[in-house]
């Protein structure tokens, strides 16, 4: 219980509000790991499977038994999982957009303000969800109906579409990076700095407490206890 409260509840300032969310860290960026990882690996394994004849000697050299049907299984099941997970990714994303309180005087490296970036990231999210679900359905028809008796389970156009979606995902991911990295949306420290509070004082987490009395391991001109705590000037 002690561990749970340390890890999950942290300090009151983090548990509610400091990042604009009713929990400690945003959920959407974590589900994004799953969406992108599963989709990209699904396409990657289908490409590897489609080029299997070329790779046969490599797998043999590595002493890894591999069949093209096994590689296609990864392409299919990972794609199905990506489609399922992405509904939750988009849902969590919209929830956290609704609760966002971004600064209006910052411009992203792509020349957009926070609101425009959020709108494009939201539109991009819905578009990518549709594309991922569409790709999954397309993949399913190829696997079980159209190409059931073929050695190559996917059409080249499917793989090409996957690569084009990678490009969209890169743009979408960069917009998301701008929201966190440039606008500080739901970033606790950034929001504290905007309001003139030093994160060192406000983020009073258990680990930080132990850091306030660090073991001396050498010369160190920064860190806790090395000087008076400053409050950020506005």
């Amino acid at each position: 219980m002690m561990l749970f409260s340390t890890l999950v509840l942290a300090e009151p300032i983090l548990a509610a509000g400091a990042n604009g969310l009713p929990y400690v860290v945003p959920i959407h960026p974590n589900l994004v790991h799953l969406t992108l990882g599963l989709f990209i690996v699904a396409i990657a394994f289908d490409i590897v499977a489609a080029l299997y004849p070329l790779e046969k000697p490599i797998f043999k050299f590595l002493a890894i038994p591999a069949t093209s049907s096994g590689l296609y299984d990864v392409g299919w099941f990972n794609m199905v999982a990506a489609a399922i997970v992405t509904f939750f990714t988009v849902a969590a994303g919209f929830y956290e957009i609704i609760l966002a309180d971004p600064p209006d005087d910052v411009v992203s490296p792509w020349g957009m303000n926070a609101t425009d970036t959020m709108v494009w990231h939201g539109v991009g999210g819905v578009l990518l969800l549709a594309l991922i679900v569409g790709m999954t359905i397309w993949r399913g028809f190829q696997r079980y109906l159209w190409r059931e008796d073929r050695a190559r389970q996917v059409d080249w156009s499917y793989l090409l579409a996957g690569l084009l979606i990678f490009a969209l995902m890169f743009a979408q991911g960069t917009l998301g990076a701008h929201l966190g990295g440039d606008f500080g949306v739901h970033v606790t420290a950034d929001r504290l700095i905007y309001s003139g509070v030093n994160p060192n004082e406000a983020i009073d987490m258990p680990l930080a407490k132990t850091m306030k009395d660090p073991r001396v391991v050498g010369s160190r001109d920064f860190g806790p206890g090395s000087g008076p705590e400053e409050v950020l000037a506005d």
């Binding site: 860290v25 990882g37 690996v41 038994p65 099941f77 500080g184 700095i193 994160p199």
Partner: protein, 167 residues
């Protein structure tokens, strides 16, 4: 002598536009979790195809974690962690290196299991997967804190650190 080979650091204190480590870890987090899910479902339903999916996902995760560590070290080195963030950054680093060894060992075990009998996994492997999942989730939580609580490499924190306001 090497200073001029990299572009100057930007307002995220990086020689390239945005952090790369959080992108590479997609392929560790998603592949470990999905690999474990596939092996678990396969274990209880005896689904041979899902065993194959579980194995390949673990292979991909193992390759990815070393790339993730390279970028993680680079970006940790440029992170200018302030006092409150330093403890979690150290723990995340320590756990990251440990996870690479653990993940490589588990995938090696998975390789031997698959070589001997591709259609089954021993109970102990499933238990090891459970432990691995817990450590990975804790590591994700620490990484989340570095980005979303401490804001390392965000514009506001980098700016405050450069002005000497945040140490």
């Amino acid at each position: 002598m090497f200073e001029n080979l990299l572009p100057p650091l930007n307002n995220h204190n990086l020689p390239y536009p945005d952090t790369i480590h959080p992108i590479v870890v997609h392929f560790v987090i998603a592949m470990v979790l999905f690999g474990v899910v596939c092996d678990s479902i396969a274990y209880f339903t005896n689904n041979k195809k899902l065993f194959e999916v579980g194995w390949w996902n673990m292979v991909f995760a193992t390759i990815s974690i070393f790339v993730a560590i390279i970028f993680g070290q680079l970006e940790a080195g440029l992170a200018t962690p302030y006092a409150a963030a330093a403890g979690d950054l150290n723990l995340h680093t320590l756990l990251g290196w440990s996870l690479s060894a653990l993940l490589a060992a588990i995938t090696g075990w998975r390789y031997i299991i698959r070589l001997k009998n591709p259609g089954a996994i021993p109970d102990a492997y499933l238990g090891m997967n459970a432990i691995l999942t817990v450590i990975v989730l804790f590591q994700v939580y620490l990484g989340d804190k570095l980005v979303w609580v401490y804001g390392l490499h965000t514009e506001a924190v980098v700016e405050a650190a450069r002005e000497g306001l945040l140490k």
